[in-house]
């Protein structure tokens, strides 16, 4: 079974990396027309 430290790393790792990526993609999405440039 995964130990507590490994679970915490998996969750925090995805929060930071996945969350960061999602945030920047959301900003890009908000800019609308700039996707065409």
């Amino acid at each position: 079974m995964l130990n507590a430290g490994a679970i915490a790393t998996a969750i925090l790792g995805w929060l930071v990396l996945g969350g960061g990526l999602g945030y920047f993609l959301w900003i890009a999405h908000k800019s609308g027309g700039k996707w065409e440039e």
């Binding site: 079974m1 995964l2 679970i7 960061g20 990526l21 800019s31 996707w35 065409e36």
Partner: protein
């Protein structure tokens, strides 16, 4: 002639992600993470991303975007005497590509080999995969001084890989972006399938515990910070002249900063995810062979061409399919990095002499293939190791240091910052100036000195004979001299339109 342009932002982002994500995401990051503190390693690694990786990324992408030129042309516009600063990373990355494409050729050979598993079947492969790779596949010689014979299957796959690179880039950035959508998506899909397969194998959880369990006591060790900064420096395809070229194809009014952030985070998330695929399989091998993790974990070529083939042969179901998926994944991970590196050189000579894209691409791919023949010989692995040390360690980092100093102090970090902020959604603060001027060059210098130079000064690199290890310095000096020579060649200017 109007400047070549990406077909759209989406295509640029995919091409940049494809360039950044490469073999190192799969074969280096998971091992480094396990070795330097598991989950705790992510802290210095993410700090390295913010203080080192992102500013360096913005320097390359932003300078290329502003000057609308590849690396040499961009530095020539900063000042005629600085053009060599752009040529040096182009030469360095071109040399890197000559062996990188050869590793892709190995992956193609192993992909075809997956149908017959020539490295051994079942548990017995644990004893035969290593000797097969070294003795039968590479036919390795005792040292770099004995070239041995050319391995014809590798040479054939080398030609296939270079032809693929030529076909992808010779028509320009629009096609590159559209191809990158596939060359990024396919390895992502392969990684997802491999991770699902890995996580459902017996022993996978034990492997993940080794990968993820944090060991915070190691955080006090400077070696951990060195490893984290090195990993960030190598993972974003920086110091190769690529991002100047890619930035030069972005429309003048388009976003730069957020594109760099998206690319960097996508790259790092892929590394983190790849660790799940790699270490679940490591756990499976540990349990099946009842051996300690030290005997199973490896990084680089050993992980890809010895450890994974062993795991593939021991798979309870469909080992051939897993083999095709894994080596196909490696080839696709490599191809978009390889064509982006070739693109840096193509853009540089196209900008300088006004050659057609097809002609410039043909020249670069032809020379790259001919030079790559060295790595198909029995001494190929020795030379790969030596040249990798010269270009992928010293070359990328030293040229990165010089580029940041020239952009930060000569051109002016603040001018670049203002330019980035004019067209980008995310505004960069004045902290950027100090990162570019001091922290990035200082951090890279720290990695050069303590990550390699001190060791190489004490003893010849890799235990090679002194003459062979000295080639590291010869390569650096020769590429530097060539950079100055190319600076003084007369070129033909290309008109840049918005």
């Amino acid at each position: 002639m109007a400047r070549d342009r990406w077909a759209g932002r989406y295509y640029f982002i995919m091409a940049a992600i494809g360039s950044a994500i490469g073999l190192g995401n799969v074969w280096r990051f998971p091992y480094i993470t396990y070795r330097y503190g598991g989950g705790a390693f992510l802290i210095p690694w993410l700090i390295g991303l913010v203080v080192l990786g992102l500013p360096w990324f913005l320097v390359e992408l932003g300078t290329g975007h502003w000057m609308q030129r590849g690396a040499p042309g961009a530095f020539e516009k900063i000042g005629k005497k600085w053009e060599w600063v752009g040529w040096w990373p182009v030469f360095i990355s071109f040399l890197l590509n000559t062996y990188y494409v050869c590793i892709m050729a190995w992956a193609l050979c192993y992909l075809i080999g997956s149908f017959t598993l020539p490295w051994g079947t079942g548990v017995a492969a644990a004893g035969t995969a290593g000797p097969y790779f070294m003795n039968e596949f590479l036919n390795i010689t005792p040292g770099p001084g004995v070239l041995g014979t050319i391995q014809w299957p590798i040479l054939a796959m080398l030609a296939v890989s270079w032809i693929a690179i030529f076909l992808i880039i010779f028509k320009g950035a629009k096609i590159v972006g559209k191809v990158a959508v596939w060359t990024v998506t396919i390895p992502w899909a392969c990684l997802v399938i491999l991770a699902i397969r890995g996580l459902t194998l017996p022993g996978a959880v034990e492997g993940l515990n080794f990968y993820l369990t944090p060991n915070f006591t190691l955080m006090k060790d400077p070696e951990v910070w060195l490893a984290a900064f090195s990993q960030i420096a190598f993972t974003l395809s920086l110091g190769m002249g690529i991002m100047y070229a890619y930035g030069s194809y972005i429309a003048k009014k388009a976003d730069v900063t957020n594109n760099a952030f998206i690319t960097s985070f996508a790259n790092c998330a892929t590394s983190f995810f790849a660790g799940f695929a790699v270490f679940s399989v490591v756990g499976f091998i540990m349990q099946t062979l009842a051996c300690p993790i030290e005997e199973v974990t490896a990084s680089g070529i050993g992980l890809a061409f010895i450890t994974w083939p062993v795991a593939i042969s021991m798979m309870p179901t469909a080992p051939k399919v897993i083999g095709v998926l894994f080596f196909g994944c490696l080839w696709f991970l490599g191809i978009d990095s390889a064509f982006s590196i070739a693109e840096a050189a193509v853009t540089a000579i196209k900008d300088k002499w006004g050659l057609s894209k097809a002609k410039a691409t043909g020249i670069i791919c032809g020379i790259g293939f001919l030079m790559g023949i060295l790595y198909t010989t029995g001494a190929g692995l020795h030379w790969l190791d030596i040249i990798d040390r010269a270009v992928c360690f010293y070359g990328l980092l030293i040229t990165g240091i010089i580029a940041c100093i020239v952009v930060g102090w000569v051109f002016g970090a603040d001018k670049l910052r203002v330019h980035l902020n004019e067209s980008s959604d995310i505004k960069v603060g004045k902290w950027f100036n100090w990162l570019v001027k001091i922290i990035v060059p200082g951090g890279l210098l720290f990695v050069v000195i303590y990550g390699g130079f001190m060791q190489d000064l004490a003893a010849p690199y890799g235990g090679y004979p002194l003459w062979a290890a000295s080639m590291i310095w010869v390569i650096l000096v020769v590429t530097l001299v060539l950079s100055f020579v190319f600076q003084y060649f007369k070129g033909k200017k290309e008109e840049v339109k918005k």
